[in-house]
Symmetry: C2
Subunit: 74 residues, 2 copies
C-alpha cells in the first residue's frame, strides 16, 4: 500500500490545506482527495509542484507500507 503523508509536510511547513491548494492551483476539495489517501494515482506534474512548494522529496510524501498478510496479532 502506498500512503500519502501530506499531513506531516503540511505541519512541518506550518501550511494549511487551503493554502497549499491555492498555491498548487487546485481546489481544496481536490487536494483533500489526495491528502486523505483517496487518490489512485498521481501526475508527476502534481508531485513536482508539491515537492517544489513544500521543498521536499517524493520520499517525504509517498510511503510504501508492506502488506502484512500475516495475522497481525501482538
Amino acid at each position: 500500500m502506498i500512503r500519502v503523508n501530506l499531513d506531516v509536510m503540511l505541519a512541518k511547513r506550518r501550511l494549511s490545506s487551503g493554502e497549499l491548494a491555492e498555491r498548487l492551483g487546485i481546489t481544496p476539495a481536490n487536494l483533500s482527495i489526495l491528502k486523505t489517501n483517496k487518490g489512485k494515482a498521481i501526475r508527476f506534474s502534481t508531485l513536482d509542484a508539491l515537492c517544489r512548494i513544500l521543498e521536499c522529496q517524493p520520499a517525504d510524501i509517498l510511503e510504501y507500507v508492506p502488506d502484512t498478510t500475516e495475522s497481525e496479532a501482538v
Copy 2:
C-alpha cells in the same frame, strides 16, 4: 521535474527490464515508457507493485530534481 530511477534499482537487484515487466504483469514496452521517463503519472497500484518486487521505497524510484532556471554556469 520528477525523475524515475528504475535503472538504479534494477541494477542493484540484478534484474532485467524484461524480468521486471513479467513480474509486474505488464509488457516490457509499457514498462519502458515509465523507465525512460516518458510517463506523465503513475498509479499507486503500480508503484506499490514496484516497491514490493524491488523491495524498496518510492524514495528509491522517484526523485524530485529542482528546476535550476538560473544560468547553470560553473
